[in-house]
């Protein structure tokens, strides 16, 4: 598959009164055409900051891209001028935000909010934009779009608003859709509907999706590949099956171990001990070492590089070094992994089972 986006060694910092918060510390990944990449990781691990940087939506000051490239369509977005960036935002790269209750302008008719991008990017007339907006609302499954287009956000429910937000994001058929926890604020049934909707739309428009979530069940349901973030870095990346059935990084083990499943009667959830590091003073060695029962001596001194597990699977842990002792994931996580294999928690897109 063709790469549509390539992120190389991205560093993002916030200059605060307390000092420089190194929120993202060298993130590298790519996104292929038509695929869904899920990003998971604890709160504060830098998921939102990374993805917002892709559309250059980091508030600046205090935020700044310190280093790295974001290659899209032959351009480095990290260095693009604001004016040029405005041509890309909403047209090629769209974002769906977490909270539909606050992400719509309360004093603007939702029709106008959808039409804004169309008029700007597609140079449509108001009339054209309006009929396209009605089409979009139909696409996202909102009844009576012709009337609703003249209503204001407060006249919609949370789920309906998120549909409107999705319609706005889809307006110009973006090549990349970034969804930052799009269903977290919604109740479970609406969540499922919205996810279905996003999958449907992706089939129709062939856009690539970056999907941030805390819910590994959702990952298994929608994603092709998964990136696991910890303390501003991607610590493991691979296909859904590789991450669910053959995780290599102890932090991924912890995440899988702490994931509730429907059939986990035999063992209780395993919490990851400790808390994430202070991003004002990231530790010298591996950031996960203080919380990691398998940590080696070298972990306190040097950060591990990305080790290749397969062509699609990489993990940053010294445990993959040829001199490292052979350490197996904990029994409980292993049972989990077997459980996933049995119930098929991973999606069936890839077919292969390790």
């Amino acid at each position: 598959m063709d790469k549509i986006l390539e992120v190389n060694d991205l560093h993002i910092s916030f200059d605060t009164y307390g000092g420089e918060v190194k929120a993202v510390r060298g993130v590298t990944f790519d996104l292929k055409k038509g695929e869904t990449l899920a990003i998971v990781g604890e709160s504060g691990s830098g998921k939102s900051v990374t993805t917002r940087a892709l559309a250059r939506l980091i508030p600046s000051p205090p935020g700044r891209i310190k280093q790295g490239e974001i290659l899209f369509d032959g351009k480095d977005l990290a260095k693009l001028k604001e004016k040029e960036m405005q041509q890309i935002r909403g047209k090629d790269i769209s974002t769906i935000f977490q909270d539909p209750m606050t992400s719509l302008n309360p004093t603007m008719k939702i029709g106008n909010q959808i039409m804004e991008g169309l008029i700007k990017h597609q140079k449509m007339s108001r009339a054209q934009a309006k009929s396209r907006a009605i089409e979009l609302l139909e696409l996202v499954g909102l009844p009576n779009p012709t009337e609703r287009i003249n209503q204001y956000p407060h006249q919609f429910s949370g789920g309906q608003r998120q549909r409107v937000v999705i319609a706005i994001a889809l307006a110009c058929n973006p090549k990349i859709l970034i969804a930052d926890e799009p269903t977290t604020a919604l109740d479970v049934t609406i969540q499922a509907q919205i996810l279905e909707l996003m999958k449907d739309i992706q089939k129709k428009t062939e856009s690539s999706i970056i999907f941030i979530t805390h819910d590994l069940g959702v990952v298994a349901n929608v994603a092709d590949r998964v990136a696991v973030m910890y303390a501003g870095k991607i610590v493991e990346i691979g296909t859904v099956d590789e991450i669910f059935y053959n995780p290599k990084h102890p932090y991924t083990w912890g995440l899988l171990g702490s994931m509730p499943t429907l059939d986990n009667t035999e063992d209780s959830l395993i919490a990851i001990p400790g808390s994430p590091p202070d991003m004002l003073k990231p530790p010298k060695g591996d950031a996960f070492a203080p919380r990691n029962e398998y940590a080696l001596e070298i972990d306190k001194e040097m950060e591990p590089p990305m080790f290749k597990v397969s062509d699609t699977h990489y993990a940053a842990t010294w445990l993959l070094h040829e001199y490292a002792p052979d350490i197996e994931p904990p029994e409980a996580v292993k049972r989990r992994m077997k459980g996933f294999a049995k119930t098929g928690a991973g999606n069936s897109k890839e077919g292969e089972r390790p």
Partner: protein
């Protein structure tokens, strides 16, 4: 909406009636008489005057008469100013005050909004700090101090502008500035705070994510939302202008309604006091109504609630 406005007008009448009643009885309780102020009149002369102005009737009768006249738009005649009807007095003075107040309000809010807007966009820059200082000064120092300072420095020392009377545009400049500083300070402060808050909200990020330009973010998405709370302080602002004119007109000898009001109080000119009070009350209620309607226009969430009942 129509029903809502009619309902509001009903309340307005009721309020006016209560204020008329209240001010009438307050006047009756005041010590002193309008007739004794200047000339030494004999008992007999006073009798005649009381008779003439119906001041010898029992209070309830006077009250009924007063309300009856009021209903016909008759506010009585002034005891002091050559028996002119109060309505005619008001009519000659309201335009002057309205001119002054309006000019000050427009100048103050527009400059204040500009200042607040720039301060919000250049958050924490020297413009922001300057704007902050101006706001604090404008809010905490009463307008008559500025009036005095302006008169002394601009009027007397520099001789640039006339220091009193109302005889042309030049005469309006200093009182307008003195009066405009308070609304300017309020508008600047409010808009800055609101704008910063609005610009940090999620829907602004959504708008940016759509590729909206900086100007579009500021004016189309930002300003309108930031204006909503500003509208709520416009009422108090208008009232402060009203009370401001009482003093400012006196200081600059401007023949406005405020100056007349102050004079009428010192001379116990009951009909003028009551007439002016009623006018002020009417004006205040009207402002509140206008602001409520304006609020509904700017904020769709309110419009709906208003339209339904």
């Amino acid at each position: 909406m129509v029903r809502y406005i009619l309902q509001r007008l009903g309340y307005m009448l009721l309020t006016l009636f209560l204020i008329a009643t209240f001010s009438f009885f307050l006047m009756k309780m005041l010590p002193g008489s309008p007739m004794k102020a200047e000339q030494k009149l004999s008992e007999a002369q006073l009798e005649i005057l009381y008779e003439k102005y119906n001041l010898d009737d029992p209070v309830p009768v006077q009250y009924i008469n007063y309300l009856g006249n009021l209903a016909q738009g008759d506010l009585g005649v002034s005891f002091q100013m050559n028996n002119q009807p109060v309505t005619a007095l008001l009519a000659s003075r309201i335009p002057v005050s309205a001119h002054l107040g309006f000019q000050a309000m427009i100048l103050g809010t527009i400059l204040g909004m500009l200042l607040g807007l720039v301060a919000a966009v250049r958050n924490n820059s020297w413009i922001d700090y300057t704007s902050n200082v101006i706001s604090v000064i404008g809010i905490s120092i009463p307008s008559f101090i500025f009036a005095g300072l302006l008169q002394y420095f601009v009027g007397v020392k520099l001789g640039l502008l006339p220091i009193a009377f109302w005889e042309g545009f030049q005469h309006t400049i200093m009182p307008t500035i003195a009066l405009a500083i308070f609304p300017l300070a309020i508008a600047a402060r409010f808009l800055r705070t609101e704008m910063i808050e609005v610009l940090g909200s999620d829907y602004i990020v959504t708008a940016r994510a759509k590729g909206v330009t900086k100007g579009g973010i500021m004016f189309k998405h930002g300003l309108r939302n930031a204006l909503i709370p500003l509208v709520t302080v416009m009422g108090p602002m208008a009232v402060s202008l009203m009370t401001g004119t009482l003093v400012i007109e006196q200081i600059f000898s401007i023949p406005g309604i405020g100056e007349q009001f102050v004079t009428s109080v010192t001379t116990n000119d009951f009909p003028v006091i009551m007439g002016t009070t009623l006018f002020f009350a009417f004006f205040f209620i009207l402002i509140i109504l206008v602001i409520d309607i304006l609020y509904g226009i700017i904020d769709p969430r309110i419009r709906l609630a208003g339209g339904k009942d």
